[in-house]
């Protein structure tokens, strides 16, 4: 059973790779002893359980499960499922296009069907594990406060992982057939980004249109939606009932999801080899004919800025990430439009959203421009001082951020000029801080490793997030006209100072 080439043997190989990948993610690629890894995990788990303990209400509605509860739980599950499906689409796409070992495996006498059976199963398993890891603190706290019935949530998490993987495979195969291997990569990235964001956005848009607030729970908890929802005994609520510990619902949801995954594997795995070969052909033929152009005169700084912008525009991974960020800005934009001239005070709420988004976008762009330089030797051997090179790259990042946020700021300025000014300053501060953090933690990497940038430095990732939150908070307080903005800005600066002290540039 464990003979070379069998499903079990392939699964063992995939597990070994996944384990080492995961271990490297936890340790940020450094060699650490098992005890250190366990200690890191314990601290992380304790921290997450603490957050769950504070966030979840003390009293969970025991006894009768009403429609409002089912609706709230279902809403959370749909949100989680859309994120899992988005992640799953990315994983399945990568299985075709990230070819570091696919050539070796497909050129071996092992059946391609077996390879992809194992890979799809691993995608499902990884998703379920990731979801379980993130949900575990909340489920554990619910277990502690409300009894054993919440144990069913773990089974639902596994079911959601299986169903998300099955749907992702079906969507990818459909894309292959509809638009061909060459376009599937980019379109799948965009579909993943849209799916990941669409549920939250739809809820927020509905909340803005109906209640003038961006809280997605306003809609889920509204009397109108609860009244319109199917009866409490409807099949629609079975996943929610399963999560709440109904044994029959739990068993059904789990069996249906696993069956869906099994059917997907049986139906599509035999054709995956051909799709993978088509994907390889697509990456060979992807070069496009461009209009011949004359070389324009350029200083080194201008040449660098132009190169960065060209590469940013042509980066499919970045396109999907940026699209996601922009999609999340749609609800604030709608709120801006709806409140325009009617209620300028409510526009203050937009300021932190814009500042936070700018910090996140700037961090990603800065990583691509500074760490994700594909020709570091070329740039380093140019007769340009290192400081000037970095300055040009930073200018390219901040220029791109300015371009993305300018329309929002202009619209905001027409309705609430002071809020627009505060937002502009906040965007500059959050973007500048995120870029600076990336500068301090820069480590040469391939541009194609963008999606794994968080694993190269945990500290940089958290620092970037904390910094963006702090600047968003400071900007929100400033827009509200309170002097508390000053200490908030000081905290944001202190975070940056602390990051500087522990950055490799200092240590």
């Amino acid at each position: 059973m464990n003979a070379p080439g069998t499903v079990v043997w392939l699964a063992r190989h995939e597990f070994r790779l996944a384990w080492r990948d995961w271990r490297s993610m936890i340790t940020a690629g450094r060699r650490r002893h098992g005890r250190t890894i366990v200690a890191i995990l314990v601290v992380f788990a304790a921290f997450m359980h603490g957050i769950a303990f504070v966030m979840l209400p003390r009293q969970i509605g025991a006894g009768e499960i009403d429609k409002a509860t089912l609706l709230a739980v279902t809403g959370c599950m749909v949100l989680a499922f859309s994120l899992l499906l988005s992640q799953s689409l990315e994983s399945v796409t990568r299985a075709f296009y990230a070819r570091f070992d696919l050539d070796l495996i497909l050129s071996s006498p092992v059946l391609a069907r077996r390879v992809f059976t194992v890979r799809i199963a691993i995608v499902a398993l990884s998703l379920a594990a990731m979801a379980a890891l993130l949900a575990a603190p909340f489920i554990d706290v619910l277990l502690l406060r409300d009894g054993w019935r919440w144990l069913g949530a773990y089974a639902v998490v596994a079911a959601m992982g299986a169903a998300a993987a099955a749907c992702a495979v079906a969507v990818t195969v459909a894309l292959f057939r509809l638009i061909g291997a060459r376009r599937t990569r980019l379109v799948a990235q965009i579909v993943a980004a849209v799916i990941g964001a669409v549920f939250v956005i739809v809820l927020q848009v509905a909340a803005i249109m109906s209640y003038g607030t961006m809280s997605r729970y306003a809609i889920l908890q509204s009397d109108a939606v609860v009244a319109q929802a199917p009866g409490a005994d409807s099949l629609v609520w079975w996943p929610a009932r399963a999560a709440l510990g109904d044994p029959a619902a739990m068993g059904t949801v789990l069996v249906v999801s696993l069956l869906l995954l099994a059917l997907t594997i049986v139906a599509f795995a035999p054709r995956f080899g051909a799709y993978a070969v088509a994907a390889a052909g697509a990456s060979q033929a992807i070069a496009r004919r461009q209009r011949p152009a004359a070389i324009r005169p350029a200083s080194p700084a201008r040449a660098l800025r132009h190169k960065e912008w060209t590469l940013l525009l042509r980066d499919p991974w970045l396109a999907s990430q940026t699209l996601m960020q922009l999609l999340y800005l749609l609800p604030p934009a709608l709120m801006l439009w709806k409140s325009f001239a009617a209620d300028a005070a409510s526009l203050v709420l937009l300021v932190p959203v814009l500042v936070m988004a700018a910090g996140q976008l700037a961090g990603g762009l800065a990583w691509l421009a500074i760490s994700g330089e594909d020709a570091p030797d070329l740039v380093a051997t140019a007769p340009v001082p290192a400081g000037r090179i970095l300055r040009a790259k930073i200018e390219a990042v901040m220029g791109a951020v300015a371009l993305v946020f300018a329309p929002f700021l202009i619209a905001l300025a027409l309705a609430a000029p002071v809020s627009a000014l505060v937002a502009a300053l906040g965007i500059a501060a959050a973007g500048g801080a995120a870029t600076t953090i990336q500068l301090w933690f820069r480590a040469q990497a391939k541009r194609s490793h963008f999606r794994r940038r968080q694993t190269s430095s945990r500290v940089a990732t958290f620092a970037e997030a904390f910094s963006s939150v702090a600047w968003a908070g400071a900007a929100a307080l400033a827009a509200a006209g309170t002097w508390f903005a000053v200490p908030a800005a000081v905290i944001a600066l202190a975070i940056l100072g602390g990051v500087r002290l522990i950055s490799p540039a200092t240590t």
């Binding site: 990456s283 060979q284 033929a285 992807i286 070069a287 496009r288 004919r289 461009q290 209009r291 011949p292 152009a293 004359a294 070389i295 324009r296 005169p297 350029a298 200083s299 080194p300 201008r302 040449a303 660098l304 132009h306 190169k307 060209t310 590469l311 042509r314 980066d315 594909d374 020709a375 570091p376 030797d377 070329l378 740039v379 380093a380 051997t381 140019a382 007769p383 340009v384 001082p385």
Partner: protein
């Protein structure tokens, strides 16, 4: 070794570099203008480390590097102006076309746009990239990528070209094109320093050959001089190289 002739293309004196262990250990070298110099050595001898220090990609622990009379350690920007570095892994951008890549490199080196345009066109034709000049590099073969990198190295008209295994992965036709380009540069008064594992290339192209082991230059000269030194008067460069390295290891 004190600096002597200011007209030398490259002068290296007492170069030291240590990582976990000494990688370069008192390395001296002088390459003349209009000379093709090949650096040979076993794996881990320090060849790439030396060339990366010449290109300004690594800072030596001790020693001096002068490029056409310019001190590369005190004035790296001026030194880089006349140097091109080509590594065995082509340094190009997948999402740029060869023409856009050349435009970028010309901008970095501050080359006049008209001159860059003319040179880019010549290089693209010369290296047989004309048909693909406006396609993105992402689907290019290793040989084509190496040609694009070489075109980038030449578009700013460097006086000294430093190459680390530039022929790795090239087919016979592409390798010949690259060799012709390099010979033409040398004839035009430039200098080339190249590491290679293909001894036949060193034998046929280099004016002088240096043999390096354990971070030191253990022998240098023309092919005849190396044969004499190795005591294998009629032997090939391969025999002479292996004998010199074996003698050094035994010493």
């Amino acid at each position: 070794m004190p600096f002597t002739a200011p007209a030398l293309a490259l002068e290296i004196a007492g170069l030291h570099k240590r990582f976990d262990r000494p990688a370069v250990n008192g390395f001296d070298l002088a390459v003349r203008t209009g000379e093709f110099y090949a650096l040979l050595g076993p794996n881990g001898a320090g060849k790439t480390t030396i060339l990366r220090m010449v290109a300004g990609l690594l800072r030596p622990d001790a020693g001096a590097i002068r490029i056409f009379g310019v001190d590369a350690l005190t004035d790296p920007v001026a030194a880089k102006q006349v140097v091109a570095w080509v590594s065995d892994e082509p340094m190009i951008y997948d999402k740029l076309t060869p023409f856009e890549y050349l435009e970028f490199v010309a901008g970095l080196w501050g080359v006049d746009a008209a001159a860059a345009q003319a040179r880019a066109r010549d290089l693209v034709d010369w290296l047989g990239l004309g048909e693909h000049a406006h396609e993105r590099c992402e689907g290019f073969s290793k040989g084509m990528r190496q040609k694009v990198a070489l075109a980038g190295a030449l578009v700013h008209d460097p006086k000294l070209i430093v190459l680390d295994e530039p022929l790795t992965g090239l087919d016979a036709g592409s390798a010949r094109q690259v060799k012709e380009v390099l010979r033409a540069r040398v004839r035009a008064g430039g200098a080339v320093v190249m590491t290679t594992h293909i001894l036949e290339v060193a034998e046929r192209m280099a004016d002088r050959i240096g043999v390096i082991a354990a971070g030191r230059l253990i022998a240098q000269g023309t092919l005849e001089e190396l044969r004499e030194r190795a005591g294998h008067g009629r032997a090939s460069l391969e025999d002479a190289f292996l004998a010199l390295v074996a003698d050094e290891a035994a010493a």
